[in-house]
Subunit: 384 residues, 2 copies
């Protein structure tokens, strides 16, 4: 495969690249400053304020969740989601090895142990069939709980992550989750605006989390949220996110260990402005993906990553995928594109290969290790 | 004592109180919106950006610290400060029982155990003499470490908190810290702008933390920072605050468990604007305190809390202090003032009285329990 050809195909979509083209940048107009200004004028810029309520309502409406609870970022949202979903110290939590490190970190913050699951080779989400086989081998159901026969620990929860915005095989996964009485918490950090059979990602399990980091579909500077279908879980999450302070006109009384995880109203104000343009940004991102798809059609040795069937993806990060794992070739393409002002990057180093997670329980992760040598993300900003 | 008299004295300082007077609100003008707007236009609103660097530089310059590292809030700053100061899982950390719950929570996030220390009765900071006596009784020095004879755990660190902005007895405390080879981490969440013998609080030990929550002297919506005199510790804290990602042009490699604790540039932009008016706000707050001091002079049964000798306080929260502990009287004053549109509040419930910290190691905490029945915070916004 000719790297020049790849660069030409990218340029045919995004233009000449005389200037550096980042992977993903936010889109702002006057509206963000308008609402930030309104927030400052209201004096409520911190953990309480109308913009927090307004942003939560907008998120719940858009995603179809009963409630959204704002957090300071996606990582804190996942930590809190795991806690309210019932993850306890020394539990095991099934997470993809192919994810950003925050997925594993949040499990550790909750005092639990990541247990790594392999991905399927089409869209790189958690492989439900392989997960079922693995649980058949190492799992032991007792008193309504699933135990890991090898470690003796409870396997409490499954956290699929919708990589690059493409929904995982939720139907098949939910079936495994139910079969083994597990809790489902979706890491939808990358998939705001992505739907599986018409239903928004992050709304299929106990709860799901979103991220509004600067590189995401929309941003609040830093921020995240948890989506709930259960009011009580949502109330508990909000309570824990605001130091678990019991409501009282003046007393400071906290009855469990809480967190300072509430998104400031200042950031929520930016979120409200971004929400207004979310549909348009998603439209632009899907149009960009469609142009990439055409540009890469018929090219030997690689494919452009398209959305799974029955799904509508936000195409957060576009990707080209080599037919065969080839680290040398992957890095040559990364070198060539980056040196030509086109920012590209590989997928994350699989989490089981990071030193602090090397000793965690896992299944066979051969697909993850292969896939990590095949993926290259390409510029994906809305409106490119 | 007559509650009407107290209300009159407060009104003589802050005015008629036809409208609700909050305890502490932020002061903004056009400058905040100007810098927020500049930040949005730059497109760098998230974890990287010129405003992060600029705010860090301004904080280091103002406090005299060698480095400041921004965090998402004061709680995360304290968690990270403890980690880089060497606090390990199952260590004990000496903290005041008279503090906001975040002080204890941060110790728990680090996997360590709060060990509660009593306060002195003048300014309610950690009591260094009582601490020394306690360590003489329960401490055992071995291999350069201090062990708690009763629990067998290492006592690693002391975290004094400068309550309401008034510096603790740092000289006496530092002497105990040195005597027992402990680490000193200052919780200066409330004391930006407070100096002990001319040196800014938070710069006396391994590191110190600040908070820019909405109720603090200045705000970034939500935010915090760690002050360092040691470049390497600062680098490590910044590294950990940004998921411990190793610098590389495209690879995602993390070599320890990090956090998503970096303050977004959007919030830092607000911080830059607030820093510009900090000196003026401090001046106004000190003038307000001085007016309160005069108004309460000569009143029987209580005193207005003034700054310790050799210190300059930011007077974050003004307080009146009953001569004798009297919960009934305290609550009557709280009722009377709040019902008259004057927001007042008591000090925090002592941490050893909260259910999740009830079993933590502690010394005699009689001063803390007394003092908690004597303190009433009164409106303290700059410019009142």
């Amino acid at each position: 495969m000719d790297n020049i050809l790849i660069i030409d195909r990218i340029k045919s979509v995004i233009g000449s690249c005389d200037q550096f083209t980042p992977l993903h940048i936010p889109i702002f107009d006057d509206r963000e400053v308008e609402l930030l200004s309104e927030c400052v004028e209201s004096n409520f810029v911190s953990s309480v304020g109308a913009f927090c309520d307004r942003f939560e309502t907008a998120l719940a409406e858009y995603t179809g969740a009963k409630r959204a609870v704002l957090c300071v970022n996606g990582t804190s949202a996942l930590h809190l989601a795991l806690r309210v979903a019932g993850v306890e110290s020394n539990d095991e939590v099934l997470i993809p090895s192919l994810s950003f490190v925050a997925t594993a970190n949040a499990v550790r913050y909750a005092g639990a142990i990541p247990h790594f699951v392999d991905c399927e080779r089409d869209h790189f989400g958690m492989d439900p069939l392989k997960l079922r086989e693995h649980l058949q081998t190492i799992g032991e159901s007792r008193d309504g709980l699933l135990y890991n026969r090898e470690t003796g620990r409870v396997i409490r929860c499954v956290v699929p992550m919708h990589a690059f915005g493409h929904p995982v095989l939720l139907k098949e996964l939910t079936s495994v989750v139910n079969e083994y009485s597990l809790k489902l918490v979706e890491d939808a950090a990358e998939s705001l605006g992505s739907f599986y059979e018409g239903k928004h990602t992050g709304t299929f399990g106990e709860c799901g989390i979103l991220s509004f980091n600067g590189n995401k579909v929309m941003t609040t500077g830093g921020g995240g949220a948890i989506l709930f279908n259960d009011e009580q879980l949502a109330d508990h999450a909000k309570y824990l996110s605001t130091t678990a302070k019991r409501p009282h006109k003046w007393e400071f009384y906290h009855d469990e260990m809480g967190y300072n995880y509430r998104m400031p109203a200042l950031n929520a104000a930016m979120g409200c402005a971004q929400m207004e343009k979310l549909p348009k940004m998603l439209e632009q991102k899907r149009a960009l993906a469609s142009r990439y798809e055409q540009a890469f059609a018929g090219l030997d040795g690689l494919r452009f990553l398209t959305e799974p069937s029955n799904c509508q993806s936000n195409y957060w990060l576009n990707a080209i995928v080599l037919d065969e794992p080839n680290l040398e070739q992957r890095d040559a393409i990364l070198e060539a594109t980056n040196s030509q002002n086109i920012m590209t990057r590989p997928v994350w180093t699989p989490l089981h290969l990071l030193p602090m997670y090397a000793d965690c329980p896992r299944m066979d992760l051969s697909a993850t290790e292969e896939v990590a040598q095949r993926i290259i993300n390409i510029p994906s900003t809305a409106g490119l």
